[in-house]
Structure formats: C-alpha cells, structure tokens
Amino acid sequence: MSEKYNEIPMAGNIIEPGNSLKYKTGGWRAERPIHTDETCLWIKNGTCGRCWIYCPDNAVVLTEKNGKYAYAYNYDYCKGCGICANECPTDSIKMEKE
C-alpha cells in the first residue's frame, strides 16, 4: 500500500486475475467457527450443506472420498461472520472467541 501513482496500473485496473486470493481476510476474525461431526448432516450422509451455500468467503470446505465425508474451514479467508453457525439446522457449529 505504499506504491506511488506511477507504480500502480492505470485507472485502477486489476491486471492479475484472481489476485483476491492474496488478500487473506482471516485476520479480521474475532470469533472462529468450531464444527462438531456428530450431528452434522453432511458428515452423516452428504446432505444439507447450508453452511457451504451461505458462506460469503468460500471458507467452508466440504469433501467426499470413497463415500466418506469430511468437513473443514479455510481459516485464511474465514472472517468469522457466524453465518454458518446461524444457518446450521442441527446446531453443529459454535462460534468461539479467537
């Protein structure tokens, strides 16, 4: 953020596609989501996925391998907004202080 006017692209153009990945918004987080597998419908049978749909930062990572379902957060980008915890129908996500 210390570049001068002549060290940045013309007119604010973003000339490197996908460079938002470089901006790790995880540092904004005051609370982090903690997920429990026991009651989660995704872990149980690969359904629901509301947290994944609603996450504004694509920070919910749902995977499946050989019929086994796994759940994770990408804490590089999770801002700790709590939408996932709010949306979870089985209360499987709790927000905890960082």
């Binding site: 953020m1 002549n6 013309m10 153009n13 973003i14 000339i15």
Partner: protein, 397 residues
C-alpha cells in the same frame, strides 16, 4: 504529405453533417447515442451511412443517454474506436458516466451541439451543458465553424487515443448557429482521412484471453493515486494536441491552435470568447480598429485542459480583457470562462482589468453590436481602474 487539391471534396454542410462525415471517415467500431436536438443530424446522418453500408460500425440505439455513454465505455474498454453525440438535458443525463469514461481512461469522442439546460425548456445554444461537465475529466474543444467541427472531430480521435493521453474528448459546436448552418466544408478523401486517424492501439483492453478487471473499488488507500494519474494525463494534452494538429496541418494546410489570436500583439483591449462568438468578435475588432481602437481577439478552442500559461503569454501587456461567455455559474464569484482567465492572469505582472459579460443564454442572438457595447463598457472600466465581477448583456433589464 499534403493532399492534392483535386482530391478535396467541397460541400455545403451543416456543422452536424460535417461531424457525421468525420465520424464516417474515422472508421468507428461503435456509435451509441440517443437523439436530442440540435445534435440529432449527426446520428441520423451516421445511421444513414451505416444503413447504406458505407461504414462498418455497430450502431447501438439505446433507451437513454446514461445508457449511450455506458455502452460507449463498454465498447471502448474492449479496444474499440467509439463515438457518441448529445446536448443539453441528454448530456446532463450522462453525468455519472462522463466521470467513469474519463477516469477509466476511455478515449471516446463525444460530439456536442451545445445547448441550454432546462428550465424553462429551451432548445437553443449556450454553453451551460459544456461548462457543467467541465470538471468531469473530458478534454473540451469548442469549434467556430462547420469546417473546424469536421477537422476537430478527426483530430479528436488521435488526441484521445494517444497513449500519453487516453482521455475522452468533447468536440463542441454551437447548437443551431453552427449545427444547422450550411457552410463551405473541405473534406479529405476517405483514404487520406482514414490514414491520418489511423487504427486505435488499446493499451489495456478487456480480453478473455488475458482477463483483467476494470473500474473496481479503490478507497482511501488508492483512489487518490488514480486521480493523480488522471491529472498527469491531462497535463500531456496540450503537447499532444500540438503534435496532432501539426500533422493535420501538413495534410490540409489548416490549423486552429489551442486558441486563435487575432490582432492581439499591440492590443489594449482583448475580446476573449469561444465557439462561433469568437468569429463575430474578430469582425468587430476589424471595424473598431478602423476607428483607431487597439482591439484584438482570442478565440479559445481548448477549454479543458485550460491553457493557463499560454493564454497569459498571449494576453501579454493588454490593459483589459473582455470575456464574453454563454454560461452562468450561479452564485460563483464570476462565470466559468472568466474564472479561468482571472486565475491565469493573477500571477502576471501586468494584471489587466477583466470584464466579464454573460451573453446569448438560451440562444439569444449575439450580434456584433453586443461586442461593441461590451467594448464601450470595458473602456469605461479601464478609465475607472476597476470592473464589476460580471454583468449580463443583451437581456431586458
């Protein structure tokens, strides 16, 4: 390389028709516009060229001027050569996108038949629309005649698309006074005009093979730096304009300058005016000179960027400058043109007296006698050693 005389086509054309021919020869990719008097003939004629297959451009009729300028920005972003036309209320509706066009550095040529703004509704000439957009970041060139409108439109593309500039250009003609006035116009052969304007080489176009993002968010951390860039591009305009015009002069023998000086060298009083009024001022100066009055004229063509230093030099040791202008800046110290002229002269040693006459609003005719009246008043102010900040002339009061 000048063009041989037998290849020059001489036609009687209105200012609008002359501009339409220049747009035809400039080999546009896209023209997007919404009709409004007194600009309408520009787009009508151009659409005729398109319908007759004389041009290859995509003509995009839109539902409003806001959309017209938006379509121009989009087309210009992919690297197209783009033009539009408007006036008055139409120009006002473009407002938001004028700033986008300039700050996204889109070299759009915007021809305007300058017209008064409502209310009351009025279709006639003044410079309220052009002066209203003066801070939008557009280059502004005001023309006296149909010939100059044709010439300037061709030059505008080269100026706008120059890599040191990359800014949109407004080419202004006085609504009706020039837009609907049939005059003698010399036109270049199509191939010579096309060669002069050349092909646009975009610097950073939108291209699926090399994706970029244009017009994103820039907040407190970067916005100011982009404005710094924009301002510096504007500072390059006078230099590039002179280069473009020198090339044009070689081809046609015609040049106008960023402003035209007429009998200013020994002048005590200088009339300063833009567009068609500048022509009338020259005729008045001739007559007054025969009566022994040392009068000269500066007809300003380039209002943005304002040629501050050059103008101060041209005014030189004149004792007074009588600024005639067709716009009012309600509540301002004085009016747009006079404000700039005063600023240009503040730092000079001679500091001539500046009289400011607002004339011709809503198309009120500005006959030679209006200049004579302004001249007499300016002489009085010289005697008194001071002039009012501004006054209106030619209005019943």
């Amino acid at each position: 390389m000048s063009v041989s005389k037998d290849k020059i086509k001489i036609e009687g054309l209105t200012g609008d028709a002359a501009i339409a021919h220049a747009l035809r020869q400039a080999d546009l990719d896209v023209l997007s516009a919404y009709p409004i008097t007194p600009q309408t003939i520009i787009v009508e004629d151009y659409q005729k060229f398109a319908a007759d297959g004389e041009v290859n451009a995509a003509v995009i009729p839109v539902e409003s001027e806001h959309s017209a300028m938006s379509a121009c920005v989009g087309a210009s972003a992919v690297g197209a050569r783009v033009a539009t036309a408007s006036a008055s209320a139409g120009l006002a509706l473009m407002w938001e996108i004028l700033y986008c066009a300039a700050s996204m550095r889109m070299p759009i040529v915007f021809t305007v038949a300058n017209r008064a703004l409502s209310a009351p509704i009025n279709i006639h000439n003044d410079h309220s629309d052009g002066m209203g957009m003066r801070d939008s970041g557009f280059i502004q060139l005001y023309c006296q005649s149909s010939q100059e409108a044709y010439d300037t439109t061709l030059m505008a593309f080269k100026l706008a698309e120059h890599h040191d500039v990359l800014l949109p250009v407004m080419v202004g003609i006085d609504g009706f006074i020039v837009s609907h006035n049939v005059e003698r116009v010399e036109m270049l052969p199509d191939d010579a005009a096309k060669k002069f304007v050349g092909v646009r080489t975009p610097v950073q176009p939108l291209d699926p093979k090399n994706p970029i993002t244009m017009g994103p968010l820039a907040l407190t951390d970067y916005y100011f730096e982009f404005k710094e860039q924009q301002d510096r591009a504007m500072q390059q305009v006078i230099k590039v304009y002179k280069e473009v015009e020198a090339e044009f002069e070689k081809l046609t023998g015609r040049k106008y300058g960023i402003f035209e000086t007429y009998k200013t060298n020994d002048a005590d009083i200088i009339f300063l005016a833009m567009s068609s009024m500048g022509g009338t001022a020259k005729v008045v100066a001739d007559v007054l000179r025969e009566k022994g009055e040392k009068v000269g004229v500066i007809r300003l063509k380039m209002f943005r960027p304002f040629p501050t230093k050059e103008l101060a030099k041209a005014i030189g040791n004149a004792k007074a400058v009588a600024v005639f202008e067709k716009a009012m800046s309600f509540g301002a110290a004085t009016n747009p043109l006079a404000l700039e002229v005063k600023t240009a002269l503040y730092g000079t040693k001679s500091r001539p007296i500046i009289a400011n006459f607002v004339v011709g609003l809503g198309g009120r005719d500005v006959p030679p006698m209006t200049f004579v009246e302004g001249f007499e008043k300016t002489k009085e102010y010289l005697k008194k050693g001071e002039a009012p900040l501004y006054e209106t002339l030619g209005v019943r009061k």
